[in-house]
Amino acid sequence: MADWQIDLIKVVFIWTWALLIAVVMTWVERRASAMMQDRVGPNRAGPFGLLQPLADGIKLFTKEDIIPKRARKILFILGPPLFAIPAFSTYAVVPFGDKIVIGGKEIILQVSDVNIGFLYILALSAIAVYGMVIGGWASNSKYSILGGLRATAQLISYEIPMGLALLTIVLLYGTFSLREIVLQQQGTFLGVLPNWGFFKQPLGFIIFLVAAYAEANRVPFDLPECESELVTGYHTEYGSMRLGLYLFGEYVNLGTLAAVTVSLFFGGWGLPYIDMSKFLGPISYGIASFLVFFVKQAFFLFLFVWVRWTVPRFRYDQLMGLGWKALIPLGLINLFITALLVQLTV
């Protein structure tokens, strides 16, 4: 097989996988929330209601596609795809496994190992806001515009602590390549702890996680779509599959953020204390590393759901206060200490 064919297979595989995760997540969200609130949840379509996402999809596709009369048509149509595309594109640099040897050819389980993969993630998360803004503005409705307005202010505020937390990781590992960052996290330090970013950079991890929740518009930071004040915020006027794309894009986004968290702070595909490549064959090692990565990712996906149904929503001024007065100073201090430590130990 030529290289471009392998690349194509990797792209198709990881996008299909991302879609599948998003589909299953809509089911997990509803079942888990039901579990936490002592309800039953959707259990009619298929075993355990597993076919519920399919039923939802059919429903959304067959509904009438309404574009409000006073909406700006082109921008209104452009909004949902612009929201979903950046979330998908981030997967291009996430290493979802170590490597697999098929027919004597070593294949790295990552679509593209670029040396600026890290900054690529930051750049994409920065432009993800346009989908919400365009949708909100084009709808020409008060709720939508307020939702879009909140989205811009919120995302730009939480970009900074996220960037600061990520910078500490770059300082620690001295590279922008995600694959190398994961490789450096294998093994242990101080004798017992796994060599994970989480243990070396606990404060950075907390800042990153909070900022990630804000970037993904999840409760407790879902102010752009806050039902109790704004109906559903920026996508109030949307219906049928356009709304579906917004909701779906959010779950793809969650999958991406979980994958990035795992790669940066939890050792990516590696198991702590155990070197799988020693006792597994080349093919089974590739599959096992992918599965390990997926299990870790699944945990963070579940954490998103867990937090959503546990924590109440912030008020908007509290959200801004947390971002600017708590997370940014903390991030700066953390960056300063990390830089000092790295300088002293190198």
Binding site: R70, A71, R72, L75, V114, N115, I116, L119, Y120, L122, A123, S125, A126, I127, V129, Y130, V133, I134, G136, W137, A138, N140, I145, G148, L149, T152, A153, L155, I156, E159, F176
Partner: protein, 165 residues
């Protein structure tokens, strides 16, 4: 012919013209976004991926988002932007400034013949670490000057925004 360059150059110039002629505020801002993306693509073509990413994350991701924020705050979709500048002295000044810039551009292009030689690039050209080394070794003075300037702007902004006592 360098088709990659031509496609994105046309994209940048076209989007730029759209930005200054659009009657609606948000589409105009989106035109500017397209300019930034096209420029980033051109930087990639010039083997400067770091600059390309900064172009996207700083200009498109931060500065333009602020512009969009103000648009969302002040202008509803039904509002059209006002008519072009009627004041004759402003228009003359604008024409003079524009002509001046075009002359500068032409002077710059005249020397381009000498520049168009193919040179091999150093091994890690455009790599983040190389840019970091240049910043903190060779151009440290310029770098610090820029940060002092930004600090001055920051202090001024805080002074202007603070409550009068």
């Amino acid at each position: 012919m360098d088709y990659y360059f031509i496609i994105f150059a046309i994209m940048a110039v076209g989007a730029g013209i759209f930005t200054i002629t659009a009657k609606d505020a948000l589409p105009s801002a989106l035109g500017l976004l397209t300019v930034f993306v096209a420029l980033a693509a051109l930087y990639l073509h010039l083997h400067a991926p770091l600059i390309a990413i900064f172009q996207i994350s700083i200009y498109a991701g931060a500065i333009l988002v602020l512009v969009v924020f103000v648009i969302m705050l002040l202008i509803t979709p039904d509002e059209k932007l006002g008519t072009p500048q009627k004041n004759i002295s402003y228009r003359t000044l604008g024409a003079i400034l524009g002509a001046y810039l075009i002359v500068l551009l032409v002077i710059g292009i005249k020397g381009i013949e000498q520049l168009m030689v193919h040179r091999g690039l150093p091994d890690d050209f455009g790599h983040p670490s190389q840019i970091g080394t240049l910043f903190f070794k060779k151009y440290i003075l310029h770098f610090e000057m820029a940060s002092v300037l930004l600090l001055v702007a920051l202090i001024a902004a805080i002074y202007l925004a603070k409550k009068k006592v």
